[in-house]
Amino acid sequence: MDLRTTYMGLELSSPIVVSASTLSQETHHIVEMEEQGAGAVVLFSLFEEQIRAEAARYASVRNATSHMFAEASDFFPNLETYETGTEEYLEKIWAAKAQVEIPIIASLNGITSEGWIEYSRQIEQAGADALEINIFFIPGDIHVSASEVEHRYLNIITEVRNTVKIPVAVKLNPYFSSMGNMAMRMQKAGADALVLFNRFYQPDFDIHELKILSNLQYSGSNEIRLPLLWIAMLYGRVPASLAATTGVESANEVIKYLLAGADVAMTASALYKNGIGYLKTMKNDLDQWMEDMEFSAVKDFKGILSQQNISDPTAFERANYIKVLHSKR
């Protein structure tokens, strides 16, 4: 079977890609991912606030403990070389690149304009094949208008695009008034790929302790419908690669996303649950399905269930919704 796919210009041997997760913090895991058939690996995210918080913490500890009394001018070895976070991340890119053939896509989660520019530049220099920018922004301030939020996204994309030459993917959230329009503008601003979707932190409450619970839950296959919808809608309309990244628990979801028009489907939760070796199972299952369905290459079925390719495009729109409502009766 020919599982090859092209994702923002990168030639991948398989459409199954490992999404950004802590699994990729260990280089030997990345090696294993390649061995088990991953088409590419998105590295864990470099969080700007983490770097800043650590730098601030480091500075405040140093400040608070320097020159306190005559016997000790400070308490730590002199750390001129102390780099708060980026060094380690860049080292990981370098190490991964040295050990695997598959593309390594770095993931950056910035805050400030300087952060986006500086860190994306460093990531490119460290040898990443592409960069996924993860714009994680909850407009908690109700005075911020939708257009301000949109501009923020677009500005970041423009800045990063102007900084690096490697392909840039944008991991975005679905909460735009006009998702499709926004996707198009992002592409125009410089996004080579769109990754659908980012899951925002959604807290839960402990009703006995009266506390906020901040435990993270893996995405489940029941959550694929929203990204599936939008991939199907965007395929062929926005000239950007599309990646799906929610609810990929098995080859079934990979297949669905590909049918909708995704170039790649990303998963981490399946690997958390079943181990990295599960990549092989997914790949085998995909193979098997293609054989059963008599597809010999991914390109043969990619996007065939997208909105533009099906006979009744309204199936994705209101009529489809009404049909669903009726079916529930």
Partner: protein, 1192 residues
């Protein structure tokens, strides 16, 4: 002279010396000791960075377990041909002495670099004088003394070159703190010039003399009466040759660098009649003074002694003008009982010999005096006084200068108003808080000016004696010529007060020059600030016509995102106002430095700092000084309460306000004995936020009182009648035990003593149901409640402490009602050590003897002016002493043996005198068990009765018994110290004491580093953590001292962490005391050296335990005797990974940034070690008793 461009730097003396020492050696064996630690730290740091010596290799730097160990290693490395050095001071040098005789006796080339420091006598002092090096003068080491930062750099090289050539080992020394810590501008010697000074053939010769199996010989034989003496005399020609060699090397050095030195360097009038001879930094002061006096027509001069050993009479005579009629020799040391101090004696001997030989025509008048002990100021005024004394027909010999000796009348008077011409200098004084970055910013200022302009710069930094809320005073001078002024600033052009409240604590404006500038960091603006100032400050400003500026640095810092860091802002103000550089140029230089400092942190950080600089200038306002004083007069001498003892009022209080220098000799205790419990009189008010108790929410658990590191939170229960006379707002709650309806409970916060650490709030388990953001104790503003709380404290003090026999000691809840006899120490806010000591004082304070190893606990426990070990209402309390760092276990054992001896003698005498004293009383005393508190109290009563009876009995035996009868009440002997002591320097002694079987209790306050000297690694430092001397991560696991002690079988051992399990800590302390044999408690002590906000200290303790890193154990030999398993594992199986604990701390985290692969490797190993130890402990906890060492 080299045509190369000069390498200019601004360094302190330690770095200046270490810079050379590192480059001309192959091995450095080191051990931290103030004030030399920096040299060792730098050597270690440079080696970690891969900086090479002049031969292109990286010196091997090894930290040893003590200076004795370092000296041994140095000796061994030298004997096998490596060029080897060490850095030390004071007690450290004392520990090296035995090896130094060997090294010198074997004619081995080496240099020891010493930041000369006082020796511990009536008290320890970390400050500078020549007592240590003088104690080493008989070792056979040559001694070369530097007087300045430049000399410390140059002489480090000259001594190395001279040692290699002469084969005589050298001590190269300079004044501790004054030179070691002064920052000054100097010219660095380039590597090629260093190389030129150290010829290869001398290095090869050194190696060729070394031990080698390829050329075997033995060295270090045992010699007998027949040859030892002659052998000792063989070295004479080498000593004779050395002064000439040093001179030649100094000449060669001068040719190369342009800096000319002499063995005895004369400065002054060529026809001087009066001269002073001295060594070290003081000589610059005398030289500058002589210059001024000579300009006024006097004929004075100075001989600065560079090479003290071997002492060259010929060179001395050559240096001394023939016109000299009288000489004063100044020694920065004290040799009690000697006919004079060492330099004086040498000069005297030399001159007498010269007279005998006919080399001196007339014997000048010669006097000797002492100055500058323990960094006592030595000023031009004092130098002038000595010159003046020499004018007299009968000048005072064996004088002192700089103090008022009204006991032996040795002191010379001096006029403090005398100063040199300071018009070329711009002098600035900065009063800051230890943690506010003032010192760091000032060091930066010196670097900016010293390294970027033609100006010269000097900085010296004075700290107070506390670790929390300490005041720092920075003394900065700038001028067009090299600044030779090794003394503090008395007339400042610029005074800056970085903390508003200091104005009420110190009269800083007395140091301001007429017409000078005063900058105040003030929350009050230019219109309202005047009326907020104390009257004294206002008066100074009016009288001295000061220009007065204010800035709200705290707000500017906050608004520019630099919260908490006012240093950049205050530094900018200094540059804008001081006139050291033109304003625009100064600001441009600051910005350049910011860019340089933060270039790695990115543009945003740089911009943020730039903004802070610009905003500073926008918010800096001049205040028009009114003509009248409107402020309140606050007398600094009224700092202590009226009811304080006379000693505190007359002596301690003066030290507290910085007037200790004025105390005359007669006011000093003669033998180092000071009254206990004086911190209670020093209300430091260092925290604006203090805990406030909410009686409604409180569950009276006692946790807050238990964890409070400064004994600021105390609890009592009492009859409600006590409330009748209570202040209106005295808080109180019904006690939450059933059956005591008339009993009330109060938790009192001593707000003026609080350091604001927050541990109490963190530990409080009770949440206010009405407002879930509040607990039963909450941090609130102090100012609004201060007066109310002072009244409450007064009332609380009047409520009697609860009857100890009525309290259940075995619970944390009960322990809160025990009076703490360790209070308000100067330890860091949130200290992880002091809660253990407080608990110890609560449990056994009234019968406690403490032997305290040198370290943090001896500093916050015993550093003047005020000390925390206190006394109860009955006049009983802990008796505390510090001997040394290395000997504490032995010192404490001595206390135990002495106590046991006196108890045994008292019992014998009592048995003998039984009938006279009354048999029933005698029997009850002799047969009393003293385990329970009530039993101890009963015994105390019986002994009091006995003493009363004995006082009426005539006879030698009764008098003997009377003098020893207090020993009939059990005494609790505790040996306290840190891990540097227990794991390293005192380990051998500790091991011996534990093996002695005697009833001592050892409390190791384990911070896992040398906390007091700045975080150097000990053998307690865990694997995967960084520390100084382990910058690349400690790669060996922490020593399991517990298991080592357990292997004896008869030692009670516990590992505790009060923040994780306070109950287990309490239990262990009680079991240790109850056990009639040696006990060892290893107490987890969170510390600022771990690198996180200590308010999270308790949480980290829990994580340490929950990760299995710090398993709580008790090993009780008593159980073994009862045929039970003595090994009890008190903590549960690990529930979190080691990373989850460790990576909250900078000491671990830092390695993941600096050496990520090493960090990963070591953390993996560390986790394996934790797992393995846990497995072993679990097995031990389940073994039958017979599997453990039997106990006799």
């Amino acid at each position: 002279m080299s045509t190369k461009q000069k390498m200019i730097a601004t360094l302190d003396g330690n770095e200046a010396a270490a810079y050379i020492a590192y480059r001309v050696n192959e091995v450095c064996a080191i051990y931290p000791i103030t004030p030399s630690s920096t040299m060792a730290e730098l050597a270690d740091e440079w080696a970690a960075k891969g900086i090479k010596n002049i031969w292109g290799n990286i010196p091997d730097v090894i930290e040893m377990q003590s200076e004795g160990g370092a000296a041994g290693t140095v000796h061994g490395a030298l004997q096998t041909g490596s060029l080897t050095t060490t850095f030390t001071a004071s007690q450290g040098l004392m520990l090296m002495l035995p090896n130094m005789y060997k090294i010198a006796g074997e004619l081995t080339a080496a240099v020891f670099h010493v930041a000369a420091r006082s020796l511990a006598a009536q008290g320890l002092s970390i400050f500078g004088d020549h007592q240590d090096v003088m104690a080493a003068r008989s070792t056979g080491f040559a001694m070369l003394g530097s007087a300045s930062i430049q000399e410390a750099h140059d002489f480090a090289l000259i001594s190395q070159a001279a040692s290699l050539r002469s084969r005589i080992p050298f001590i190269h020394f300079f004044d501790g703190f004054r030179t070691s810590h002064e920052v000054n501008k100097l010219e660095l010697i380039p590597d090629d010039q260093i190389r030129q000074m150290i010829p290869d053939e001398l290095v090869f010769a050194h190696r060729n003399r070394s031990l080698s199996p390829d050329n075997p010989f033995i060295r270090g034989t045992a010699q007998n009466p027949d040859v030892y003496f002659q052998g000792r005399e063989t070295v004479n020609p080498f000593y004779t040759a050395t002064p000439g060699i040093v001179e030649e090397i100094m000449n060669a050095f001068a040719k190369m660098t342009g800096r000319k030195y002499e063995l005895f360097e004369y400065t002054g009038a060529p026809d001087a009649e009066r001269i002073i001879i001295l060594m070290g930094s003081g000589s610059e002061t005398v030289e500058e003074t002589a210059k001024l006096l000579n300009s006024r027509g006097e004929k004075t001069g100075v001989i600065s002694v560079r090479l003290f050993r071997p002492f060259s009479l010929a060179h001395l005579l050559k240096a001394m003008p023939e016109t000299v009629k009288s000489i004063a020799v100044l020694d920065r040391t004290k040799e009690p009982g000697a006919s004079g101090e060492p330099l004086y004696q040498d000069i005297l001997t030399s001159l007498v010999e010269a007279m005998q030989e006919g080399n001196l025509k007339k014997m000048p008048k010669l006097i000797g005096g002492r100055y500058g002990l323990s960094s006592k100021e030595f000023t031009p005024a004092m130098a002038k006084s000595v010159f003046d004394e020499l004018k007299k027909d009968h000048p005072k010999n064996h004088f002192t200068i700089g103090i008022n000796d009204d006991v032996s009348f040795t002191s010379l008077e001096y006029d403090p108003a005398f100063t040199l011409d300071e018009s070329e200098w711009r002098q600035g004084l900065f009063f800051g808080l230890g943690a506010d970055g003032t010192v760091g910013a000032n060091k930066n200022s010196i670097k900016i000016i010293g390294e970027n302009t033609p100006l010269y710069a000097q900085g010296y930094f004075v700290y107070d004696s506390k670790k929390s809320g300490a005041r720092t005073v920075s003394h900065l001078r700038f001028g067009p010529k090299p600044i030779r002024a090794p003394y503090l600033i008395s007339q400042a052009d610029f005074v800056a007060c970085h903390q508003f409240n200091f104005l009420y604590k110190v009269e800083m404006l007395e140091f301001a020059k007429q017409g000078g500038t005063f900058l105040l960091n003030s929350a009050y603006d230019k219109n309202e600030v005047w009326d907020k100032l104390p009257a004294a400050a206002q008066k100074f400003m009016i009288d001295k016509k000061l220009k007065f500026y204010v800035i709200d640095a705290t707000t500017v810092a906050r608004d520019t995102g630099m919260s908490g860091r006012i240093n950049t802002i205050m530094q900018t103000c200094f540059f804008a106002l001081s006139g050291v550089l033109p304003r625009e140029e100064a600001i441009a230089e600051i910005k350049k430095t910011i860019e340089k400092t933060y270039y790695k942190k990115g543009k945003a950080v740089i911009e943020q700092n730039f903004q802070a600089v610009d905003a500073t200038l926008d918010h800096l306002y001049e205040v028009t000084v009114p003509a009248t004083v409107t402020g309140k007069f606050v007398s600094l001498t009224d700092v202590v309460a009226a009811e304080a003892p006379d000693f505190v009022k007359n002596i301690t209080a003066k030290m507290m306000v910085g007037h200790g220098d004025d105390l005359p000799v007669s006011m000093m205790p003669i033998d180092g004995t000071y009254p206990s419990g004086t911190t209670q009189w020093e209300k430091r008010n260092i925290s604006d936020q203090v805990p406030v108790w909410d009686p409604e929410t409180c569950i009276q658990c006692g946790n807050c009182a238990y964890v409070c590191p400064h004994s600021v939170i105390r609890a009592k229960f009492y009859h409600e009648d006590n409330l009748k006379k209570a202040p209106e707002e005295f808080p109180s709650a019904p006690i939450n035990s059933r059956g005591f309806p008339e009993t009330r409970y109060t938790l009192q916060v001593y707000v003026e003593d609080c350091t604001g650490c927050n541990l109490c709030v963190e530990v409080c388990p009770a949440t206010n149901p009405g407002d879930r953001s509040r607990k039963a104790i909450n941090m609130d503003e102090k100012e609004p409640i201060l007066e109310k709380e002072k009244a409450n404290i007064k009332h609380f003090e009047n409520i009697t402490w609860n009857d100890r026999s009525m309290i259940d000691f075995s619970t944390v809840h009960g322990a809160q009602f025990l009076e703490p006899l360790f209070e308000f120490s100067g330890a860091c806010a949130g200290c992880g050590e002091t809660p253990y000591l407080k608990l110890l004082s609560q449990l056994y304070g009234d019968r406690l003897l403490v032997a305290n190893a040198t370290g943090c606990s001896s500093i916050y426990g015993g550093n003047l002016p005020t000390t925390p070990w206190a006394v109860n209402k009955e006049g009983k309390g802990p008796a505390w002493s510090n001997s040394l760092f290395e000997d504490n276990a032995e010192f404490g054992l001595g206390m135990r043996i002495s106590t046991d001896k006196h108890t045994a003698v008292a019992r014998e005498l009592l048995t003998e005198l039984g009938a006279q004293a009354g048999q029933p009383l005698t029997d009850s005393i002799l047969n009393a068990t003293q385990v329970l508190e009530s039993e101890v109290i009963d015994q105390r009563k019986r002994v009091a009765e006995l003493k009363e009876k004995l006082s009426t009995i005539d006879g030698d035996r009764a008098r003997q018994l009377l003098s020893l009868s207090d020993n009939l009440v059990n005494r609790s002997v505790w040996l306290v110290g840190g891990d540097g002591w227990a794991y390293d320097i005192g380990y051998g002694g500790l091991d011996h004491v534990l093996a002695s079987g005697r009833n001592v209790n050892v409390l190791v306050l384990d911070t896992e580093v040398y906390s007091n000297t700045g975080g150097q690694a000990s053998k307690s430092t865990p694997i995967a953590a960084t520390a100084k001397f382990a910058a690349a991560g400690k790669s060996i696991g922490k020593k399991d001292l517990a298991m080592q002690a357990i292997s004896y079988g008869n030692v009670y051992v516990a590992r505790v962490a009060f923040g994780a399990n306070p109950q287990q800590t309490l239990l262990a302390m009680r079991e240790a005391e109850a056990y009639d044999g040696p006990s060892l408690i290893l107490a987890y002590s969170h510390c600022i050296a771990h690198g996180y906000d200590l308010r999270d200290g308790l949480d980290q303790q829990q994580k340490a335990v929950h990760s299995g890193y710090w398993p709580l154990i008790r090993y009780n030999p008593t159980l073994r005797k009862k045929k039970q398993n003595p090994f009890i594992l008190d903590s549960a199986r690990p529930t979190i990974g080691l990373k989850d604990y460790a990576y909250n701390e900078l000491r671990y985290k830092v390695l993941t940034r600096t050496h990520p692969e090493q960090a990963e490797k070591l953390m993996k190993l560390a986790q394996e070690m934790v797992n393995l130890r846990w497995k072993n402990y679990e097995e031990l906890a389940t073994l039958p008793a017979s599997d453990f060492v039997p106990v006799a």
